[in-house]
């Protein structure tokens, strides 16, 4: 086997002189689902933003490699074309741009295949919408404009199904969702989970992990991964909380 | 009716070398310097006319400049009859057409607050006056009436709040002008030093039916992390003519709460300019105006953003009734480099009966790109639905209207951090609702 698909190496990042990530190391292979947990303010969302290339964050050290290629110099759209997808914790509203128009533009940009006719595209879109148990009128609404929390998250998954990424980062996609919405969102993600996809599932709650089964679990505290393990770690975390990790292992400890 | 004022006649002819010498009599140092500069500037500036954008809706010819008496400096007098407001403040300044008096309620307790007539301030605070008089707060220097005030002010005060001191009850300046055809040209300088907190309240009164004129100017400096509240309660009688040009400059992390309540006067023309000059400076500007009978209230505001990360929030609410007329004209100006600015301006108007008129001219002048500026303006009468609701609960039409007008203004009145003053303003608004 060649290089691992995703390699995050000694990643340091800051925002406005405030260091957030202080040396994150993470390796994800295709076909794997990695869950990343951690208390508020530990840097989980920063990591997802840095992976996607948010301009407000500055990487001061380290690399993110996809298939061996360092992507840190790439613009967000170039990363998307490489197959990176971020499901936003707080999706942004774009008034005046319809869902359909946006998805078609993104689809054409990422796949560079404008030969897929509008008809075929719409057909697939309709299927996906149905699969996510959304109303078809959705596609004529303005992107995320006036959407409820659950609608926004489903919108993210719809985009993911449309763009078919090879590396999906889910940034607290589960927060604020009721049990039905959570089930639907998970169903959407699971549809793509398989040998061609690497997933980094960032979450605050273990609840979603009963729907999307992780192969590995990592705990991020103060900008570093302090603990990694298998799915059995979930239960332990749930019972003992993050303070246990802080006390038990201190920083730098990896199982 | 267009009246072009002539320098050569009446009042304007009166503001000549002699008047200047009279006003400046015995004055020295920076005050005299500034007067002299201002006099030159004043003479070189044309008189405003209806053709000037700013005066298009308030004919300068309507001001009876010819009628007011000759300019006389106001000297110190014994403290006049007390008002029920007086005991609520640390220091009270009373100004009449006879002169001024200052009363200190602090019983010797030093609280970092200094209140002096301008001429006395010269001795102890000469350097500070040099920095503050006609200082950087005056954003527009080619203004006839700001220069007129600087050249001819006949009563003036300096309020200084020392670094890191908090003044609890603050200063009251109350004007009670009873003389017929009196002319008052007051000047106020307020300097809140770094980390200080203070409140200045001004109260203007004159008897109804009595002609008088007030041409005021204020300069306020709010230094780093200082907080200044300035409340101006204008209840001139219906014979009063007022022109006021006021300026404030807020430094880093500083904040001004500037509340202007215009209830009185026959004609009032005001300019209020505030510069949020350094990062994280905040300006809250609020206004209440109510023109009834034949009152005419015209006010212009400027929120100037000169630095990144500066904030301003303006809300001016007005009502016009009978044949009253109001003009609100506001500008948010964001210069180059004023990024991450958040500025807001809202003007809401009630037009309470046919025959009344309100004009609203909000404005944005934006030269920077990374910011958020917005403004809004509404006009309308009381909501019929709300009236109906109140009446269905047994209120008479008059009572229901009264309640809704008061409710409309409550948002501004509540900004006065002084319940006694709030009650007073509510009562005054109530009286005007009739």
């Amino acid at each position: 086997m060649s290089n691992p698909y995703i390699e995050i190496v000694n990643l340091h990042a800051r925002i406005e002189d405030q260091p957030i990530l202080k040396g994150v190391n993470l390796t994800i292979n295709k076909g794997e689902v990695h869950a990343l947990m951690g208390p508020n303010g530990s840097g989980k969302s920063t990591l997802s933003s840095v992976i996607m290339g948010h301009p407000a964050y500055e990487v001061t050290e380290g690399e993110i490699r996809i298939n061996g290629e360092n992507i840190l110099e790439l613009e967000p759209d170039e990363r998307a074309k490489l197959g990176v997808f971020l499901a936003f914790q707080y999706p942004v509203a774009i008034p005046g741009v319809t869902v359909a128009k946006f998805l078609k533009s993104a689809h054409d940009a990422v796949h560079g295949d404008k030969n897929v006719g509008a008809g075929a595209f719409l057909k697939e879109l309709r299927e996906n919408i149905k699969f996510l148990e959304m109303n078809e009128t959705f596609i004529n609404r303005f992107l995320n404009d006036g959407f409820s929390g659950g609608e926004k998250k489903r919108m993210e998954i719809l985009q993911m199904l449309t763009l078919k990424p090879s590396f999906a980062v889910m940034d607290e996609t589960d927060s604020g969702l009721d049990i039905d919405a959570l089930r639907i969102v998970s169903k959407g993600v699971n549809r793509l989970v398989g040998p061609d996809l690497a997933v980094l599932l960032i979450t605050h709650y273990e609840r979603i992990l009963t729907y999307i089964k992780p192969d590995h679990l990592h705990v991020l505290i103060d900008g570093k991964i302090v603990l990694s393990g298998g799915p059995e770690l979930v239960k332990e975390l749930e019972e003992k909380g993050y303070d246990w990790i802080r006390k038990e292992f201190g920083a730098e400890v990896l199982v | 009716m267009t009246t072009i004022l002539e320098h050569e006649s009446g009042f304007w002819a009166g503001l000549n070398e002699d008047a200047f010498s009279g006003a400046a009599g015995g004055e020295e140092g920076v005050l005299r310097e500034r007067r002299t500069q201002a006099f030159q500037a004043y003479r070189s500036l044309p008189l405003p006319t209806l053709r000037d954008e700013e005066w298009r809706r308030t004919d300068p010819g309507l001001f009876p400049f010819e009628a007011v008496s000759r300019l006389a400096n106001l000297g110190e007098i014994p403290f006049p009859a007390a008002s029920d407001l007086d005991d609520r403040f640390d220091v009270v300044i009373a100004v009449t057409d006879e002169g001024y008096a200052i009363r200190d309620n602090r019983d010797g307790k030093v609280c970092g607050l200094t209140v002096l007539p301008l001429r006395e301030a010269l001795r102890q605070y000469g350097d500070d006056l040099a920095a503050c008089f006609d200082g950087p707060a005056v954003l527009e220097r080619d203004r006839k009436f700001t220069q007129l005030n600087s050249a001819f002010w006949n009563v003036g005060f300096y309020i200084h709040v020392a670094k890191n001191t908090a003044v609890e009850r603050g200063v009251l300046i109350r004007y009670e002008i009873t003389g017929r055809n009196a002319l008052v040209i007051p000047r106020l300088i307020v300097h809140a030093e770094a980390g200080s907190r203070a409140r200045v309240t001004e109260y203007y009164q004159s008897p109804d039916g009595q002609a008088m004129m007030c041409i005021g100017a204020r300069e306020m400096y709010v230094d780093q992390a200082a907080q200044l509240s300035l409340y101006a309660v204008q209840e001139w009688g219906n014979g009063a003519y007022q022109i006021a040009e006021d300026w404030a400059r807020v430094g880093r992390d500083g904040q001004i709460d500037w509340v202007t309540l215009s209830l009185g006067s026959k004609i009032s023309k005001m300019m209020m300019g505030c510069e949020v000059a350094e990062p994280n400076a905040n300006a809250f500007m609020s206004g209440l105006f109510f023109a009834n009978e034949k009152q005419h209230i015209d006010q212009r505001t400027l929120q100037k953003h000169a630095a990144p990360h500066t904030y301003s929030n303006l809300l001016y609410k007005g009502a016009v009734k009978d044949e009253g007329r109001s003009v609100y004209q506001g500008v948010i100006a964001a210069g180059k480099g004023a990024i991450k600015v958040d500025a807001y301006q809202m003007n809401k108007n009630l037009v309470l009966n046919p025959g009344a008129r309100a004009d609203s001219l909000p404005g944005l002048m934006i030269d920077a790109d990374d910011l958020k500026c917005s403004h809004g303006s509404t006009m309308g009468n009381l909501s019929p639905l709300e009236l109906f609701y109140l009446k269905s609960r047994g209120l008479s039409d008059v009572e229901a209207r009264r309640m809704l007008v008061l409710a409309f203004f409550e948002e501004i009145i509540a900004k006065l951090d002084d319940e006694f003053l709030q009650e007073r303003v509510r009562a005054d608004v109530n009286r005007k609702i009739g």
């Binding site: 759209d77 005046g96 940009a109 | 309470l352 008129r357 002048m365 500026c373």
Partner: protein, 476 residues
């Protein structure tokens, strides 16, 4: 990292309408006096009353001053250095006719009947004259008159006499007076009582000759319960000298009538340094004379070196409705001072204003508006939304609304915002693989959506494309 700084070397949208047409023309000597006006009138074989009308306007104009209040600056215009009449030599010259038709084809305006766009009748104005109107017979069957204003003066003098100058009086402003004196052509539409015009009527204005001013005059009258949708388009060759376009458009809607007037203005805007381009000083006003009449202006302004234009509606009839939808895009060194006036005279009158300004490059973009509620306008309503978007930090966006209310039963609401494209929006869209330029265009088109949807379908598509073209290279 996505940033939105303007890279001035990239602000270089190709103006594809910048070619010029080489045809034999007849042009007057430069200069303006009563002789020139008589000559224009004679050239058009006008009746005496028309000549006199022009001369009266000219005499007024002599005593008027050019307005200075707008937020635009330009060197003084020498009105004696302009040619006031230029026309291609058409008589017995089929080649010229064909050349002109080719010009309009190249501009995307179908002049041959065989190519005509379904649903659109076209009048084409080339410099000072109309060179052809399509669909005439079909329209005539319905009693609709659609022809050049010159033809209308000959063929329908009673209608022209009755309505010309009644909405925009000769002395309304400096440029209106000038236009009244020297106008050379433009369109005339008359929709009789109860008729809904079955096709869009369209005029395409083309300035071709050098140093020639274009002074078009358009008059649209809708009788009771009639309806028309009218579209105008404008282009000019790229030339390094400024040219003046001072039009007057008058709309009259009688009882129950509706006029929808759409403009896509893409005059040459000058080069990167602000050399050349059209001065677009235009007076457009509609008069809702009858009860329940409606006038709606939609404009997409993407061209001209300077725009000075305030399409307005006087709402005199009770229950009448006025609308103004505008997109004004400026880049390079363009200056736009545009907006509207809604004058509420009658009862239950309603007006809506939606203005979207986009500034890029070193341009200046101002909204100026007046909402006037007169004492008799019981229950008048106005809603105004003005949004400005800045692209880069070397441009300016100003908003100068005036609201005057003299009626206590009226309600007006005005909202305005100025912002830039937010970093978060940009990041979100680019994270889906869409490049920065396309992302900007998506956001801007979304920003303008409310206005574009008011345009007739095919023009809406055109407008979106045009704006996209203009935006290309405006961000780098």
């Amino acid at each position: 990292m996505p940033t939105l700084e303007t890279n001035s070397t990239l602000v270089r949208d190709e103006y594809k309408y910048g070619f010029s047409t080489d045809v034999p023309t007849e042009s007057f000597e430069k200069g303006l006096n009563e002789e020139v006006i008589r000559a224009i009138s004679a050239k058009k074989n006008e009746p005496e009353w028309m000549t006199e009308w022009r001369l009266k306007a000219f005499r007024r104009w002599l005593n008027m001053k050019e307005p200075q209040w707008a937020d635009v600056s330009y060197p003084p215009i020498d009105y004696q250095d302009i040619c006031y009449f230029s026309a291609p030599k058409l008589e017995n010259n089929p080649e010229v006719d064909e050349e002109l038709k080719r010009t309009f084809e190249r501009l995307g305006v179908p002049m041959h009947e065989r190519d005509r766009l379904a649903g659109v009748a076209v009048d084409a104005v080339f410099d000072s004259v109309s060179v052809g109107t399509t669909h005439k017979e079909m329209l005539a069957e319905k009693g609709i008159i659609f022809c050049s204003i010159s033809e209308a003066i000959q063929e329908h003098p009673e209608l022209v006499k009755k309505y010309l100058g009644t909405v925009v009086p000769q002395g309304d402003n400096f440029f209106a007076a000038l236009n009244s004196a020297v106008f050379t052509d433009g369109s005339f539409c008359y929709i009789p009582k109860g008729v809904r015009c079955p096709v869009e009527l369209s005029t395409y204005f083309r300035i071709n000759a050098v140093d020639t001013g274009q002074f078009e005059r358009t008059l649209i009258v809708c009788e009771d319960d009639a309806y028309v949708s009218y579209i105008e388009g404008c282009t000019a060759p790229s030339r390094d000298r400024n040219q003046l376009h001072a039009a007057v458009v008058e709309l009259i809607a009688l009882e129950g009538a509706e006029i929808k007037y759409s403009t896509v203005q893409n005059w040459y805007a000058g080069d990167e340094e602000g050399r050349g381009g059209i001065y677009n000083f235009v007076t457009k006003r509609g008069h809702c004379r009858g009860r329940k009449s409606k006038i709606s202006w939609t404009q997409v302004e993407v061209g001209s070196a300077i725009t000075w234009k305030y399409p307005s509606v006087v709402l005199e009839g009770d229950d009448s409705v006025g609308e103004f939808y505008s997109v004004a895009f400026t880049n390079r060194k363009m200056q736009a001072d545009t907006g509207t006036k809604m004058v509420h005279v009658g009862r239950n009158t309603k007006s809506t204003i939606v203005s979207k300004g986009i500034s890029a490059g070193r341009s200046r973009n101002s909204y100026r508006g007046l909402v006037q509620i007169l004492p008799g306008a019981d229950n008048a309503r106005n809603h105004t939304q003005c949004d400005s978007m800045l692209i880069g930090d070397t441009c300016t966006a100003n908003t100068y609304p005036v609201i005057e209310c003299e009626n206590s039963t009226a309600i007006t609401e005005h909202e305005a915002t100025t912002s830039k494209i937010s970093e978060e929006q940009m990041f979100y869209i680019t994270s889906r693989g869409i490049d920065e330029e396309s992302a900007t265009s998506l956001i801007v088109n979304g920003f303008c959506k409310e206005v574009f949807k008011e345009l007739p379908m095919e023009f809406s598509v055109e407008a979106v494309k045009l704006l996209e073209l203009k935006l290309e290279h405006s961000v780098g």
